[in-house]
């Protein structure tokens, strides 16, 4: 009897082990197979060709450095000096970087014995250590040079255009103009543009020094010049971040205000009419299912681009989510407290106010604050679609594909913004409902 029992148990145990073994190997095998499928479905082998490593290099180097352009217009002979080649970053008349010397012959010292000379009559001389002296003459739309036929891979030359890339800087020559890019680490003109009198002044001078601009106090002038910096647009960036947070705030709080009364309609305990309950629940499912993307698209047609559209898109989607969460919380309230309140002769509204609300408030607040943080991130994305906030500035900066230091700046700001909102919502939660941990 016991022997048979033991045999049966052993058999069962072995079967169980076998099944566990199949699951233990089966699940990883299925996942591995899925990854293989994805490997081909996403065309990962072809990715190597599509990937643009030059772009990656530009991104990696530009995000922490800047370049100063020295440009000679070969028609007028005029020479301009500009940070990042932008009009806003141009050196004022009569000023130029100190690594440029000479009047008739302009000598540009790129460092490391790399020297470029702009000679009269649109001639250019380029000295690169370990290579011959390069001479280029621009005539009309073509170039004549003394370059040999077999060129190293850092020089590309045709009759119309010559590009030279050295570790110290880049030189491009065309018939119309000759341009030298000199690279420097750091974000240029972050504080003041070149036309501001405060450019290049130390903090001590700004706080205690003589007035640099006789019409303004140093400190207020400096703040206003920094705030209105045309290159970095600190004012616009601050507004954009404000817009993004505003979208998240208005959307989350608006959704909570709308969802709370609706959640009562959807909760079994407070809403005896089945039809009404089902209708509210389907409404929640519908607005959640349509998703923020489609709401954004639809609302942008009605309200145009801007923060309000983003706020409304978040509001509508989250009304569904909040409605679902709130009604679940309402289903789980303790009946005893409501009975206690009604035993004092409280009317229905008072029963809700003192019997129900105090029980659900901690759950609701925790959810609302969690969503406030998560919606800051959503608002960045929605802003990129609908056109508002820091998301839009980021997409624009990436799409122009030249100001990678600005992209890096925005990314840092976005991450800081999300982390601060995360911290803030955690802090507020601790203040309002007490800390759990």
């Amino acid at each position: 009897m016991t022997a048979i029992d033991l045999d049966a148990t052993k058999f069962q145990a072995e079967k169980l082990f076998q099944r566990k073994r199949i699951i233990g190997y089966g699940i990883p095998a299925v996942i591995a197979l899925y990854f293989v499928y994805i490997f081909f479905a996403f065309d990962l082998p072809g990715l190597a060709q599509r990937a643009n490593m030059d772009n990656a290099m530009t991104l990696a180097s530009d995000s922490w450095s800047h370049k100063v352009h020295v440009t000679r217009d070969n028609r007028s002979g005029e020479i301009t000096y500009a940070v990042e080649g932008e009009r806003k970053g141009r050196y004022p008349e009569g000023q130029r970087p100190d690594w440029v010397t000479g009047n008739e012959v302009i000598t540009i010292d790129l460092g490391g014995d790399h020297v470029v000379r702009y000679l009269p009559d649109n001639r250019t001389e380029i000295e690169i250590p370990g290579f011959q002296l390069i001479e280029v003459q621009a005539e009309g739309r073509s170039l004549t040079t003394n370059l040999p036929d077999d060129l190293p891979d850092w020089i590309s030359a045709s009759i119309r255009r010559i590009g030279i890339t050295t570790p110290e800087g880049r030189i491009t020559l065309t018939g119309a103009r000759t341009e030298v890019f000199n690279y420097f680490p750091g974000w240029e003109l972050f504080w003041f543009t070149l036309d501001s009198p405060y450019h290049g002044q130390g903090l001590g001078t700004l706080l205690f020094g003589e007035r640099l601009d006789p019409t303004r106090l140093n400190i207020s002038g400096a703040i206003s010049d920094w705030w209105n910096n045309a290159m970095w647009r600190h004012k616009d960036v601050a507004w954009a971040i404000g817009e993004t947070i505003l979208m998240a705030f208005l959307g989350t709080m608006g959704a909570a205000i709308i969802a709370l009364p609706l959640a009562f309609l959807a909760a079994k305990r407070f809403s005896p009419v089945m039809l009404l309950r089902a209708a509210t629940r389907r409404l929640f499912d519908f607005v959640r299912g349509v998703d923020a993307l489609i709401w954004t698209v639809v609302l942008a047609r009605a309200f145009g681009p801007g923060p309000l559209t983003g706020a409304l898109a978040i509001l509508i989607t989250d009304t569904g989510t909040f409605g679902k969460i709130f009604s679940e919380a309402l289903e789980n309230v303790d009946q005893k407290q409501i009975e206690g309140v009604s035993s004092t002769g409280a009317k229905p509204l008072q029963r809700y106010r003192f019997g129900v609300i105090p029980q659900v408030v901690p759950v609701l607040l925790a959810q609302i604050l969690y969503f406030l943080e998560s919606n800051t991130r959503s608002a960045t994305i929605i802003g990129a679609i609908t056109g508002g906030g820091i998301g839009l500035m980021l997409t624009q900066a990436i799409q122009t594909q030249k100001d990678w230091e600005e992209v890096a700046y925005y990314i840092v700001l976005i991450i800081a913004m999300v982390m601060i909102m995360d911290w803030f919502s955690g802090w507020l939660r601790g203040k309002l409902i007490g800390r759990k941990d």
């Binding site: 145009g304 960045t380 679609i385």
Partner: protein, 291 residues
Amino acid sequence: MADISLSGAAQTVDNIQSTYMAQVQRRRLYGGLNLLIFIILMVSGFNIADDRNAGGFWDGLHQIGDYPADVLSEAWEKRADLPALIAKYFPALVETVNIAAVSTLIGAIGGLFLSLLGTRGLAKWPRLIPLFRRISDIMRAVPEIVIALVLIFVLGGGPVPAMIAIAIHTAGSLGKMFSEVAENADLKPVDGLVSTGATWSQRMLLGVVPQVAPNYVSYALLRFEINIRASAILGFVGAGGLGYELRNSMAWGPGRFDEAAAIFILLFGTIVFFDQVSSRYRNRLTEGQGQ
């Protein structure tokens, strides 16, 4: 004597009542002030948003229905083509769902390691717990769109940038949720495994993972729902899938609204479908735990 004590008691009752009323009044005042501040914030925030928007709220309100009505009426006129269009965009839908699934899988694996390495009592290198926690905080804080846009610039459009972007964010946020679960895990099985000389990975795999698996799977499913939405949105900024097709068909404007409608239907159906499936499985997983 009795008289005095009685009057004293009456006084204390009075005292208690008055202090209680004062307290209630103070609390009401604070509550009212908080409410007032909140209302001011909401109203002024709304006004600022309204000012900075291209179209005003009250002007736009009655136009909300216009675009959906246009899309629906055009789709209704061409309703015969709708099944064909849905079939046409089905591969894009598969791509969107694939992006979400792969990034959830990769993110869950990453989150698993981040959580085990960042939980007190389980970590392999206890000194590095703050490091792994900060890593998961930062990964969580980066919005998907930031990584996606940068990667699109480097890798070109397509599903891979979106997949990487969503996977990074998923790893960060699952890492946090997972480690909250892992903190409550029973350490006795781990101690038992230590006594048999098990390595760290064996301890985790055999001692911790079986305890936390239902909760982890439940969180991963929730994340999968969220990631489907995210992958659709990222498609809109150029990362392939349904969102990309939606942007293209919208750029055509009227005349192609039937395509937009087909995509709307697909997206809506997918989101509702996966929401239902995942919430059913999550309920089962968390219920199974209680028993």
